[in-house]
Symmetry: C2
Subunit: 370 residues, 2 copies
């Protein structure tokens, strides 16, 4: 199947694919590594939700990485995901080295089921792998009139305040809150000043990073988008101490502890790396990556309709906040991704040429045409 | 009783008080406005925990403010705090316009009790007032081998990304996690680049604020520490869009919604102001300030000893992270406040002259000597 259109965006060549094209290709790849039909469907939906929402770093761009982890036997395509500890409102889940894309929705469903019973559900997951975008899992709560929460630790790229050593991942947090007539509030963000995906975009463009995103190996400010390959590090949200980087460091740490110390996963600098060519850390204190999920039933606090009306009021009031000079309007968390989703489902998903080539190479392994 | 020592710090005159001196004075004030002995004790402990830990903006410096709110009949010194909605893992609490310093520990205790029963407890509180430092309430979980969480909304001083309008409070989050031989992980931070208290310190010193803390009435960068009085605003953690202020805005919003939209409190720009001379907002959508508390039993996820050993390992590893040039060591959230607490319990608590004068004026109202 050939892409039906391509154009040059900035200096990068891109090809446009329909959602269906990418869906069929991706599902076939997951089936080829041995996933069940159900798991392949889930993994594909989760992975592509990133492309559709404009978080290009977490979608098909990572497909070959998952395959390489499977080739390195770091991903189990047929995991037996199981609850290893629980109370009425909590569970600890062993992901059995499965695709995070499959383990995470499974665990989020447990959180939702617990919330149905006792008001809220909280699930810490260990022995897992990269789970795609946090927002997908948190958004599973919406159809149940629940608030959804998802977070994950990740391989260490971030230096704590006052340090030069990479100790934490970009450790994202998603919090999703339903409204009535307004779209839901969907926050989903790395606990760093800039997500690593943003840095990767600059690398491909050969462009500089803004000051405050990264530091060099001595902890000095840097604008080199390739500094992570030169012993540099990403900075916690806040950039430096004077601008609150200790808060971003604390947030990333909380995600690490909830996801991996509570679950028996591998935490901090011992979090397993995503690139399969990077050796696993020595003396890992736990198994695999960790995630943490929460589901809170709205009506465990307040009648659902009443809450949703107030959420509409909240959102409408914030949308009407006076914009600063040069800006059109104030956004609600989730607005940009919703606009991208609408646009891309209509007009297709642009994929940069380097990723297209990468996908083609993966396809060749299994005799699957992009 | 006279302060036993005073000295000049920076350009501000300060007096040193012992914890006991401030405790006795503060408790008498709370008793004088009609608090029960039990509530006066609680309120005093919570308020002074800020002074002891070095968060001077939230301690005795606010005592006269609470009294003025009581005089304005915005604080009820004898609240009937009640659960108005609940499930096994959740409760919604009406603070009956009580002192937040009293309502908050009451609600946190409910969260702890629920966690004992079903693994976790989550309590949203409305119709309350300023609750002191979030960390105090979250730390109540520690002696029960639980993770503690506390947050609160507050009167609007913060402009969302792309806006010039003050829509959110500094909305702090505290997350507290027990360890074994290491001290607990205690994160407690405003979701802004800098807390308002830090700005107040600069105002008293007549000093400029760093770029990135505040903006002027048109949304332009500013270093004027008095800009909030000139229609300026505090900035969300991240400072500007390029450095992730939309993340700080999302965090502050989550705190606002969990605390006040879930509970029936007054949210966003309608949050009641702390200064009693500021009129209450018109068309308030709920009652009073809101808080949100969480307690998670460690052994609801993993055996407690096992978890604590891994937390020790986590903390020890992070303490050993390579420090950047010019810095001695990497800190764990809670370290600076612990050091301050140790020092101040030994050597006394410095109180700036302006606050001492303010306390004396409050004392005179009730014939209580400082």
């Amino acid at each position: 199947m050939q892409p039906f259109l391509f154009y040059i965006a900035t200096i990068m060549a891109e090809q446009i694919f329909s959602y269906q094209q990418l869906y069929q290709f991706t599902e076939k790849i997951f089936l080829s590594i041995g996933c069940s039909q159900q798991d392949a469907t889930t993994a594909t939906k989760v992975l592509l939700s990133a492309d559709v929402r404009g978080i290009d770093s977490h979608g098909v761009a990572r497909l070959s990485g998952y395959v390489r982890l499977w080739e390195a036997k770091r991903i189990n395509a047929n995991p037996h995901i199981k609850i290893i500890h629980q109370t009425p409102s909590t569970a600890t889940v062993d992901g059995d080295a499965g695709l995070g894309l499959v383990v995470a929705p499974h665990a989020m469903q447990i959180a939702i089921d617990k919330a149905k019973q006792v008001g809220t559900g909280w699930v810490s997951v260990g022995n897992s792998n990269h789970f795609g975008i946090a927002g997908y899992h948190a958004m599973m709560a919406l159809e149940h009139d629940m608030i959804g929460i998802a977070m994950t630790n990740a391989s260490a790229l971030v230096a704590p305040t006052f340090s030069t050593e990479k100790m934490l991942g970009t450790n994202p947090i998603a919090v999703v809150i339903p409204a009535q007539h307004q779209p839901p509030f969907v926050a989903d963000f790395a606990t760093t000043t800039a997500a690593n995906g943003k840095l990767e975009i600059l690398q491909r463009k050969n462009a500089d990073a803004p000051l405050g995103w990264v530091q060099d190996e001595n902890g000095n400010a840097s604008t080199d988008a390739n500094i992570l390959k030169k012993k540099g590090a990403l900075l916690p949200l806040g950039s430096d101490r004077e601008h609150g980087s200790h808060k971003g460091y604390a947030l990333g740490s909380i995600v690490d502890i909830f996801s991996a110390v509570l679950s028996g996963g591998s935490y901090g600098p011992w979090a397993p790396p995503f690139p399969a060519y990077v050796p696993m850390p020595e003396n890992m204190p736990g198994k695999g990556l960790g995630h943490f999920f929460g589901a809170m039933r709205i009506d465990a606090f307040r009648p659902t309709e009443e809450f949703k009306q107030h959420m509409d009021n909240w959102i409408e009031r914030f949308r009407k906040a006076k914009p600063a000079a040069g800006f059109e309007k104030v956004l609600i968390p989730g607005d940009p991704e919703r606009e991208t989703e609408k646009e891309r489902m209509q007009n297709g998903i642009p994929v940069v040429e380097a990723v297209v080539e990468d996908l083609k190479l993966v396809g060749e392994k299994f005799n699957i045409e992009l």
